[in-house]
Symmetry: D2
Subunit: 355 residues, 4 copies
């Protein structure tokens, strides 16, 4: 019996997320990588552009082409867009019109509001009519919608690290929707494969620094999603930092439980409620790991995987709840999650090609 299979294409496959998509889809048991595009590398094979994949049997057969929506629509059923925001929207419309399903890794279809997009991305949305058709591709939260989606907006790396820990608590009313702080550390691949002095080895190695303080673009999708979970408008504090690792995001969240803690010890009852809440939300999720005992998240335990690690601590001294998460920014924070969505859209096992 032949395995079910889908033809896929990647538009803009030369960055770090694109490279991971190539790797995942080359090795996916149910996907056939039919096309990869890159203006810069058009004409070269995958083996030439990514030497590390050169031992894969298909790497010499797949050749980069110029991006062309009409052509792509003939080659693939599912098209991944790994393009800068603003550019992705130019391809999504034509591809959808041709009957393709689109999984967009840019920010173009993550927001429901075109005004919010303009506020955070500093230009008008290029295809506002498509905003309502897109599904926010966070499978643990929107699995049912992804199943039937034609256009999936795969979440940003930081948003994933904030939303998965926070949404179940907000939905359960265990934490207050206001006053949330997310302090996050990201590896340098998050900045993309851009030839800029700021991301040279010597500028990043032995360096730790905050950036985009206090209004990073990812705030927009984080707040929109948290507001949906809370049922009221949520404004959060979000501080990203750049640290000298290739990959990985470590996020520490400061939350206020809706009912106070009884000092001097932590609150066993509330602790159990949180545990139950996370168990209900993620106990059976293959890509969320709830740490127990004394374990705390560590990016080195998730890099190379599609897993988000999560631990929490109640602090009876301050009355706060701390939740910490770790993920690979290029996998659960980007390409892995996009493939997870593809698996759901196609009815493949959700872990196919991701374990």
């Amino acid at each position: 019996m032949k395995k079910p299979s889908v033809k896929v294409a990647i538009v803009g496959a030369s960055g770090y997320s694109g490279e991971e998509l190539v790797r995942l889809l080359l090795n996916h048991p149910h996907a056939e990588l039919a096309a990869v595009t890159s203006r810069h590398y058009a004409g070269q094979t995958v083996a030439q552009v990514f030497p590390k994949f050169a031992s894969h049997p298909k790497s010499k057969a797949v050749r980069f082409t110029e991006p062309n929506a009409d052509l792509l629509a003939k080659q693939a059923q599912i098209v991944f867009l790994a393009l800068p925001h603003g550019v992705a929207a130019e391809y999504a419309g034509p591809l959808l019109a041709h009957g393709c399903q689109v999984i967009d890794l840019s920010a173009d279809f993550r927001l429901k509001s075109a005004e919010l997009y303009r506020e955070f991305y500093a230009h008008d949305h290029p295809a506002p009519d498509l905003l309502n058709k897109s599904v926010y591709g966070l499978p643990e939260i929107y699995r049912a919608h992804i199943q039937d989606a034609l256009l999936v907006a795969s979440p940003g790396c930081y948003p994933t690290s904030v939303l998965l820990p926070t949404i179940p608590l907000l939905r359960a009313g265990l934490v207050q929707p206001h006053g949330i702080i997310a302090d996050a550390l990201s590896g340098v691949s998050g900045a993309g494969r851009k030839a800029e002095v700021d991301y040279l080895f010597c500028e990043c190695h032995e360096s730790a620094r905050p950036y985009s303080v206090p209004k990073h673009r990812h705030l927009s999708e984080i707040e929109e999603q948290l507001s949906l979970a809370a049922g009221s408008h949520v404004t959060i504090q979000f501080t990203p930092h750049l640290i000298p690792v290739n990959r990985g995001i470590l996020t520490t969240l400061y939350l206020a439980p809706t009912r106070g803690l009884a000092a001097p010890n932590d609150n066993p009852a509330l602790n159990l409620e949180i545990r139950d809440c996370y168990q209900a939300a993620y106990g059976k999720e293959p890509f969320v790991r709830l740490l127990d005992g004394k374990a705390l998240p560590d990016t080195k335990n998730v890099v190379g995987t599609n897993v988000l690690e999560l631990a929490w601590r109640l602090d009876p001294r301050t009355g706060r709840l701390l939740v910490m998460s770790a993920e690979d920014n290029l996998l659960k924070g980007a390409s892995g999650q996009a493939v997870q969505s593809m698996n759901i859209m196609c009815g493949f096992p959700e872990t196919a090609g991701l374990m």
Copy 2:
């Protein structure tokens, strides 16, 4: 005219802080390094233990000895203790009795309260009668007291990165004393030169992780000092993270201004007040650098120096004040600051040997 000079000794000079003390004091224009001790390296010269100092003319002349308070008191006027907590106190008493001045880099004399010490360090204080004689060695805050001190408790690395940004604001009543959050990133040298698996290269490289959540020992001295500045008991949230750099601490502080911000733009009046507050506190301090314009702290700009970098942002979206600081954990966070105290105690220029 001969330069004024003081004989100094370092007890426990084999760790990373001790090594930096050796470097600073070997090169100090007014200090003569009369003795260095280490049980482990007794008998070896500084050149043998620290090959990187072997080109210094004095490195072959100074030899490590077993620590002996009676002997040290004859050799040096000022003795630096770079020992584990609990052990430092054993040396401080005898040295003071002999008439030495002591600069202790451990936690033993940083707290005023022996109970607090017991709570955070899990054993009784070994010399509680000395607690009231010690001066907390944060020169920008306690310069006048350090001038006459016999026993200086040099602050911890994390506390320095939290206290310098926060104390002026609390003293001026610009921020609320409750609800403060300090989220900090530290290089691995903060863990000391200990042969433990957790600090092996392969366990730290490509890793970012929180630890000691939610009750790190440094909380005790941070809260004691902030309470003094606020005039009321302060409890804070403090989350340390380990990141793969050799040196450097980057701390992000979340504070609540005492009066609200007027959205949607930031509050120019409050911004000026904060600027004036910091200018008054640190405008003439050689070792605090107030960043202006778009600059944010970066550990790579302070590593190797005794400088703490500081920047702040008001966030009109959340009403919070963010203050970010960067320092070298082994210099402004340990040995550099200890030498700064020595300069004050001896009447040397405060920047001597530190620029």
Copy 3:
């Protein structure tokens, strides 16, 4: 139809090589990980010891035990030994006597000569009678012998990086057997998960250093194997260096072609001969990648894979042939290669579980 499958065990699974073996065998389509042992971790599950594998369905089911040859022989058909040299031999004999097949990752069975072992490992060989029964587990060279082997001595990390580039050239008589120099750079995982100050993060980061100069232990197996390939006794120069990466070995080999080069340009005829020699040896090998064009080996292109990358340059200025190789020291240099041998021994596809 059920897939063919073999029960396997790992003795000494707590180091870096052991950890990689656990990962490879947990995910191997034809292997069932029946037992893992570690004196240190006995009683804990794989999920507890290696948090990064905790999302694997079997990680909570497999529990570390004390090593016991009798018991292991009942649990597994193939036993991997990831133990220090000297210790491995204690287990190999009893396991073989019980009818197990043994793949040893230590140095204990790599040499044919017990005297050479004594010279380089500074103690008598613990089981000299087994030396002639072992097969050197370099599949590209000894595939046919591995097929029938009961005891495979999996090669060292450095030797693999030297032997694969050199053996075909020596066998073909293209390079002289004397005067060979191998200059190699290794990531810190090569030192194992040992709590020693030398391998602390701060001692390795921003450091590059030679070690074991001029007589590293791996010389013994390199020279024995090169002598076999050359048909005469070969003595080489081998200089290992430690560099601050987690994984990867980059080896640069300096060889003398048997016939001279004609300056000023390189020698097209000899170049073709070398290319043909490598093509004949490795053109169809899944785990050796011959680079062409301007490409040179880079450890980042092989880390995480079982592939060795190889490129060469003739230098008409000096008459030398340079061959450069890159591999993952824990995979092609250790655990990946051991699993490759297992695949051969069991008649599985050689790439099973390794792509």
Copy 4:
């Protein structure tokens, strides 16, 4: 009594070598930094361009200007050129004509032969008449010539690491001039502050790779200098590798003693001769550290200093002499050495501003 002092300028001060020159000259007891130029940063202060120097009292007073030889000649007596090759020569001529002394850190005046320059740098030499006026700025070798030089060509980073270990042995006839191999590892700052993808953090971190094999440009000056030392034409093998450290070069040299070694132990007599040779050459040099005992060079022991570390081993197994050196590529390999030359030219203590 006022200290003697000289006015200095730096042309092209925005790269990594330029930055180090700024640091050294700002802090130099006998130099007054009168001008720094950079087309890119003209108009900004040193404090703005290099935040890490912003605490230096002079950093806000010194402002970058457009480079202009006429103006520079009025401002400074000694002008450092930290420009790309080809460009440096355009400034050297006019500055010399105005009576300045020039210390050039580029490759423009390191070679005596304009043909060799054309062969290795792929364009005609822009000022061949100046080649004979320049002195190769390796103080330990050419101190007397530097003393009277008007134009110093400061050596390249790799050449320094090869020449200092090799020249005394060649001069003494202890090693053969042919067959020399230099295998070198360099930190990424060696590539300069260039916005190229190859030097991005993610392309270098967890990577080790050879480059410019087999004909790196630095070969030209290495061979010219070794030929002068040997009294005959020397051709060497030189293989540079890029490793993920900010700073540091580690070079391993393979040399053939002129008389054979007597196995099985090393040759005590030859060993003593080598020691005496190095002692005679460098025993009193402040910036060459001869390691003894079991110590081997380590870049972490020299980074941040102007010292080159050196150790050697005779290998009785192969008959070769291995010499290993470590230096900071930006200091002894560039800016530190340039300042050392300045000290000699001006009659300052040679270590002024460099300890």
